[in-house]
Symmetry: C3
Subunit: 144 residues, 3 copies
């Protein structure tokens, strides 16, 4: 289908799958640390005392929240950007940087690597998004 450029689609799908992996990791950490978000799950897994917060679960939740705040706008910007018929290599570079940035961010965040790594990878992954937003804005302004 010509409406879906192959490489960008591939990368955005990998990001959605990466998010699903973070969700699965969160669930496993909850089971392993016995820290559940609601009384129903806690009761099923040993008792109400396991309805509690845990440092590692919080870490997973923050990583997931980060994805929600950054990957979703990218999915949307990337989709509209694809409609602008960009140069394939430039588009490929945009999407690759976002993909790598988010991969490094998630690993750095969940493995608690030392401080500037996740901030730098976050900033790196946002640069192509800002670039795409400005290109779309520019293109839209030309049609006004």
């Amino acid at each position: 289908s010509p409406a879906i450029p192959a490489v960008p689609t591939c990368h955005t799908r990998q990001l959605v799958i990466k998010m699903y992996v973070v969700a699965i990791i969160t669930g496993q950490v909850r089971l392993w640390k016995k820290a559940f978000a609601n009384p129903e799950d806690a009761l099923r897994h040993g008792g109400l005392q396991y309805c509690r917060t845990d440092r590692d679960v919080e870490c997973c939740l923050r990583a997931h929240r980060h994805d929600v705040e950054t990957i979703y706008p990218f999915l949307f910007l990337g989709l509209v950007y694809s409609f602008l018929d960009p140069d394939p290599f430039v588009a490929w570079m945009h999407f690759l940087i976002v993909l790598l940035g988010h991969m490094v961010h998630t690993v750095a965040y969940l493995r608690k690597l030392r401080a500037p790594i996740h901030s730098v990878s976050y900033t790196l992954a946002q640069l192509p998004c800002v670039s795409m937003a400005l290109q779309i804005l520019w293109e839209a302004a030309r049609h006004l």
Copy 2:
């Protein structure tokens, strides 16, 4: 318009409206339990002591967060999946399972039904999403 398959569109819209309903329920529970997230709202509704957390409000917030983490990727995957020109019946089954899974999840979560119900409905609703993600990835890989 041929770009928007009727049934999938119908289902995704119902999911967005379902999310709005969760937001409205959260607001009503906040008013009913007098538990507000910020001092401004608390002052307006009785005093600063009502800027507090509440078990039922937290439950609504977790249900909403769950929707954010699962329905948004589905909206995106479903939109791209529609462009792949899938078999209408297969697409209809995918979207119906997601819709029913999320409806059951929200009711089970807000009504605090016993434990495996919301987990099972969550897993059920994710299966078509993973299926769509893999089909899109496969389609994109063929065009590389």
Copy 3:
């Protein structure tokens, strides 16, 4: 490109950029109030005692969460709505109200303006979204 109506695109992009601005403000407030979400960042900026919550950071996080819960569905609804080939002036009014509503909401929330302002602007910004959802549902129902 005829697939992307100029004015809506312009407005949705401004909303995504507005969200990025909220994210940047959150980061600056974290640095200024020395309140970090994880031990790694805290260690880099003075010590583990700065891994803590802060009232102003929480306020930014709630504003961002609000955007996630309301702007993302709008991006999706707005995109599908554009495909329905709506009357340009009506579409422009829909998108403008959403844009202004969210701008006022963010300013009112972050500046902690008095109570009904952010609730009213939130409700105002949701009205065109509900209107678009119903129009899409109506259009989809006609094709069933």
